[in-house]
Symmetry: C2
Subunit: 216 residues, 2 copies
Amino acid sequence: MSADTRGRILGSAMELFATKGYAQTSIDDVLRRSDAKPGSLYHFFPGKEDLLIAVLEAHRAGIDALLFQPAWIGFDDPIERVFALMARYRMLIVASDCEYGCPIGSLALEMHKARKSVRERISANFAAWTDAVHRCYLQAADRFESGTNLRELAEFTLTTMEGGVMQSRTFRDVSYFDRSVKQLRQYVQALMKTPSRRVAAPKKRVGGSKAHPPGA
Amino acid sequence: MSADTRGRILGSAMELFATKGYAQTSIDDVLRRSDAKPGSLYHFFPGKEDLLIAVLEAHRAGIDALLFQPAWIGFDDPIERVFALMARYRMLIVASDCEYGCPIGSLALEMHKARKSVRERISANFAAWTDAVHRCYLQAADRFESGTNLRELAEFTLTTMEGGVMQSRTFRDVSYFDRSVKQLRQYVQALMKTPSRRVAAPKKRVGGSKAHPPGA
């Protein structure tokens, strides 16, 4: 009944829910993958939904260390951080042969009649993602036209990621994701002061900051 | 074994897959909802996946009559047609107390290891949607800055719809969808020639066409 066992069960469930979906994952699948005994699993997670809630809380707790921080290594410019985050998703799409689905987005659509406790934890993940992107835009606030709603832009960035991931996965073609991100980039440019060109190369705009991680 | 029975089974499956999800819908659910006999169901659809493929083909076959045509009643301006389509989704979101999920998008994310035959039919639905929106933008091509990639804009419009629906459903709040659509509207404006303002009221831009359906 160690914390290690709990972590192993949780990690297995995270992986299975992300790759097979919640409904398609059985408790037996989790037991097999984690090499845990039924008694241990039921001790920590009395029901499958308790496991789901713990998975969603783990995603939320790890969003900074597991998603943002690795994505932002070598990127100081706040706008480039937003697109470095998108590049992180691109990497996950390519590494999975375009089978990647955002684990939170997939659960959000799979949970048709989700209980409030589940929905609130999916919402918390979306909100944490949007908050972080919003902070990036706020750090570059002086580059946007006055009156630009940066919170809405952050929500729209999540919209772009989720819609782009969905299409790249369906068509098994990362270029669908790329084109959505390109449209977002053009929109961000259009919202900035004195946009000289519609599509500017990142380097042109981020003067001084590193557009690529060192050694990458 | 009439075509009527087949249609009743198919309609029930469409509704169940959309509201409960594919994995959570059992053949028994479909039999109960359609009041059909097991023999009839298996005669038309030997397996559950055959039923899924038929559902996806029915969505594809009905996209014009059931989605675009009703959305576009009273809208002649091609750009307003795009946003009238978005308004149609808004209506579905509100009518379902924000439980609405795009049936195709939900299946796209639920089908983690979907067979090629299923994925191809989900793709065909996305492609038909994008094609129709692309045609709208092409009809207004002279209003866009030269060099604007209208195909990519149509794909980005699907991205916006899917990402917006996902968030409004998760937060059970249509304003998430509204804000994504507002951002898309601002982007479309920015891509047009001589944008006078970032956020223009529809009426200002569509000179001559009806911004609202008659009697609506």
